[in-house]
């Protein structure tokens, strides 16, 4: 099996499930197919995609980032605490300060984890608490304002194409490229696959790991900034649900929790599956309590599928549909 074929086997199910859920939602409520609703979905899926990609980078190294929620919270707070009058300097500050803070928070995570050789689970749990404390210190209650011109650019449309759509398409392509075509990206896969062999192959494991957490923090900052623009204010605790959301999206999009396998190619599908299920529950008027239960169940289901291969039957059907010829390489090529 080739890498491409494996990836198709991973991503075709992800996207076909996403599309079927979309169609199912449209059948229940035809309003789902309207353009306005779709524009709304583009906006709501974007932070999920960013958070999912943030988590994917870390999970691919074999780690996990529980501080992502606090990074989102802190960066969104920062984004609305900056001066919001439309001046060039203010806009430059808005564009650069939150990502830099997010990046450095991620780098701190990575430094502690790789230099101290501590388990990522506990380190990011602890740093998450610290980051959240800082966010609450800066802004104890929800509020704040953002520059209207930025808001207009980010959530507006360009040539009738909604900008969030462009944003998430461009960014997921860029990060796909980073994972697929750069030394940094491939090193992440090697480390997640087997750190000892990666080290032996001359990969600077601790450096790469630190930067993987750094990129994760940066992506978390993008999610935080986007959220603050979308709701035109900030809430220091707004990131909290994204801890679970990001892990669920990463796993739904085909990344193995053990590391070294997966990527961001399926991220849009994974994020859509997660978002649409939530939406359907809302549309059906199901109480928030049950929604939590359903979210938890989805995560466990996704985990079972990704680790035990229940999906195998679906896969083999799809394989029969798409790859009729299976090459036999059992025998040595003569």
């Amino acid at each position: 099996m080739k890498e491409k074929q494996r990836n198709l086997q991973l991503y075709i199910p992800v996207y076909s499930i996403a599309i079927s859920i979309y169609i199912f939602a449209g059948i229940i409520k035809p309003i789902f197919f309207t353009w306005n609703n779709n524009v709304n979905l583009f906006t709501r899926v974007t932070p999920l995609i960013f958070a999912g990609m943030a988590q994917t980078f870390v999970i691919l190294t074999g780690g996990i980032d529980l501080s992502i929620g606090s990074i989102i919270g802190l960066t969104s707070v920062l984004a609305v605490s900056l001066p919001f009058i439309d001046k060039p300097l203010n806009i430059v500050m808005w564009i650069f300060i939150p990502p830099l803070v997010g990046l450095s928070m991620g780098l701190i995570n990575g430094l502690i984890i790789s230099k101290g050789r501590f388990p990522p689970l506990i380190v990011t749990l602890a740093t998450g608490a610290i980051f959240q404390g800082i966010a609450l210190f800066i802004m104890p209650t929800p509020g704040g304002k953002v520059s209207l011109s930025i808001a207009r650019i980010v959530t507006g449309t360009m040539l009738k194409i909604p900008n969030p759509l462009i944003i998430f398409l461009v960014f997921s392509y860029i990060f796909h490229l980073i994972l697929r075509r750069t030394e940094f990206g491939r090193s992440i896969y090697a480390i997640g696959g087997n750190e000892a062999i990666a080290h032996e192959s001359g990969i600077l494991c601790s450096k790469i790991k630190i930067w993987a957490y750094g990129v994760s923090g940066l992506l978390g900052a993008f999610a935080g900034m986007f959220i603050s623009i979308w709701i035109v204010s900030a809430d220091p605790l707004i990131g909290e649900p994204y801890i679970m959301n990001s892990i669920a999206v990463a796993i739904l999009s085909g990344t193995a929790l053990s590391g070294g396998k997966g990527g961001v190619t399926g991220i849009i599908g994974g994020a859509y599956i997660y978002l649409l299920i939530n939406n359907i529950l809302n549309l059906l008027g199901i109480s928030t309590f049950y929604q939590f239960i359903v979210k938890g169940l989805i995560l466990i289901l996704a985990l079972t599928i990704s680790s035990s291969g229940i999906i195998f039957n679906i896969r083999s059907i799809l394989r029969r549909l798409f790859f009729l010829k299976t090459k036999s390489i059992e025998k040595m090529g003569e």
Binding site: K2, K4, G193, I329, E330, G333, E334
Partner: protein, 510 residues
């Protein structure tokens, strides 16, 4: 001793190398020379120091003493990367591949070729194809390694090593997982590399293959080379006679006087999953059964499956003529089977708990009333066990971590004493243990059998098989190749059965 007549400086010269590990002297003043364009076989029994010597060459260990010269230049390797830079490539038995990545990426792992700062996959794919073609295999380099059979994975590993263009290539038992046809293919590669002037070190236990491929043979024993000669000087019997013949020290108790062969207190029957071979054996009352052979021939799988850890299918276990189902460790313990694993620090001792807690652990449910552990009863029983084992300690509350290797091993044995087992399986019972403790452990083992317990020992130490066991089974490639009794238990017989030719076996057994 070094005989290769050559006017050139040798490609590799290892001089008076010494390496010791706690408790053992793994390499003792060993010399080794490998020339350009030479296939040099390195052979010896388990623990003779071959692998350690090669790990010293690769920089995985640092020698305590001695020098390594590459092309006459002295080198010190602190890690594998440094050795690689000096032109050393090693192909291990346990491959260092990433199964979830493509062949091409594995071959070029760490040396990504780039175009405009992005990785150029086409170039990597093409170049790996060229390298793979060079060693005579024709596979699509974009395939994932996980979809390849074992033999092809090894070829990928070879290709990976070749990208670094090494001068000296070490093959550590490369033929073990290969079929005859694949071995022929591998040998073609070896000969090709030899013609290109590389120095090839070939470690193998399969003497037929060694004689077939190598130019020079070095035999190691007890951490030292015994002889280095041209391959034409040797035949199979000659090699075996050089490999064996170690000094025999009297540390073993007397062998069993009475073995009631008709009274089988334990019997096993099952099909080894890895090799699909049927294994049948039994233990009679009063005898110690030894299981030997080269490492990794399926012995551990068989013993594990007795303890409910899998490895064999359709396993039928009988203890005292009663058939017993063992699907889990819990069932095994309940049926009176206990296993003392090789890796005591990780698998059998709770290092941070006290001696008392360690010994009490497996039988903790036996001393409870109303769900509470009867501490006084426990104390009394455990003090009895500790006394019997003569574990050196300050009190039973001492933390296990602070004990020496020998005492830890006694603890691992003691754990099972109070559970009154019917069958005890020991894997490498005296590994890393000093001589005095060894003597004690051998005595305990003998006592077990005298009390009617069936004892099965797996050991790679030949002296142990000869000195301690009443009967020895040898496994090779999943076959039971020998069942040696009393006087038949000699180094020659054990060695012969261990290295017997697979193809012969295949035809004989069919």
């Amino acid at each position: 001793m070094v005989k290769t007549i050559s006017t050139m400086t040798p490609l590799l010269r290892m001089n008076e190398i010494v390496k010791s590990f706690p408790g053992t002297l793994a390499v003792n003043k060993a010399n080794f020379v490998c020339n350009k364009g030479e296939i040099h076989a390195l052979i010896g029994e388990n623990g003779a120091g071959k692998s350690t010597l090669m790990k010293l060459l690769a920089g995985i260990y640092m020698p305590d003493r001695g020098e390594i010269f590459i092309k006459g230049e002295e080198k010190i390797f602190r890690n594998y990367s440094e050795a690689k830079k000096a032109g050393i490539g090693i192909i291990y038995q346990e491959l260092s591949l990433f199964p979830e990545l493509s062949i091409a990426e594995n071959v070029y792992m760490g040396i990504w070729l780039k175009k405009k700062r992005l990785i150029n996959w086409d170039e990597i794919s093409n170049r790996s194809k060229i390298i793979l073609n060079k060693i005579g295999i024709n596979i699509d380099p974009d395939e994932l390694v996980s979809s390849l059979p074992m033999a092809l994975r090894q070829m990928v590993e070879i290709a990976k090593v070749l990208t670094q263009n090494p001068e000296i290539i070490v093959f550590d038992e490369p033929t073990a997982p290969l079929s005859r046809k694949e071995v022929v293919k591998l040998f073609k590669i070896l000969k090709d590399l030899k013609q290109k002037g590389k120095g090839i070190i070939f470690i193998s236990h399969r003497l037929k293959e060694v004689l077939e491929i190598s130019d020079v043979i070095t035999i190691m024993k007890d951490g030292k080379e015994v002889i280095t000669e041209n391959a034409s000087y040797f035949d199979e019997d000659k090699i075996i006679s050089y490999m064996v013949g170690r000094k025999f020290t009297e540390i073993f108790p007397e062998k069993a006087k009475i073995i009631k062969e008709e009274e089988e207190i334990f019997s096993f029957q099952g099909i080894l999953k890895k090799y699909q071979k049927k294994i049948v054996f039994s233990v009679s009352r009063g005898e110690i059964l030894g299981v030997g052979g080269l490492q990794g021939q399926g012995q551990i799988d068989v013993l594990n499956s007795i303890f409910g850890l899998g490895g064999c299918k359709d396993a039928k276990i009988k203890i005292f003529d009663k058939e017993i189902k063992v699907k889990s460790i819990f069932q095994a313990i309940k049926a009176g089977i206990s296993l003392i694993p090789e890796n005591r620090n990780e698998e059998s001792i709770f290092l941070i708990l006290s001696i008392l807690e360690n010994i009490a652990a497996p039988t903790i449910d036996k001393r409870q009333t109303l769900g509470l552990i009867q501490k006084q009863v426990e104390n009394k029983i455990i003090k009895g066990v500790v006394g019997k084992l003569s574990i050196r300690m300050t009190s039973v509350d001492q933390i296990a971590q602070s004990l020496s290797g020998g005492n830890l091993q006694k603890l691992a044995i003691g754990k099972w004493l109070i559970s009154e087992p019917k069958v005890i399986i020991m894997i490498e019972p005296t590994k890393g243990v000093d001589v005095a403790t060894k003597q004690q452990i051998y005595r305990f083992i003998r006592e077990f059998t005298e009390n009617g317990i069936a004892v099965i020992i797996y050991t790679s130490d030949m002296l142990e098989l000869i000195g301690e066991c009443d009967r020895v089974l040898i496994m090779n490639y999943g076959f039971l190749t020998a069942n040696l009794k009393k006087n038949e238990i000699t180094e020659e017989n054990i060695m012969k059965a261990s290295v017997s030719d697979i193809n012969l076996l295949e035809t004989e057994m069919k």
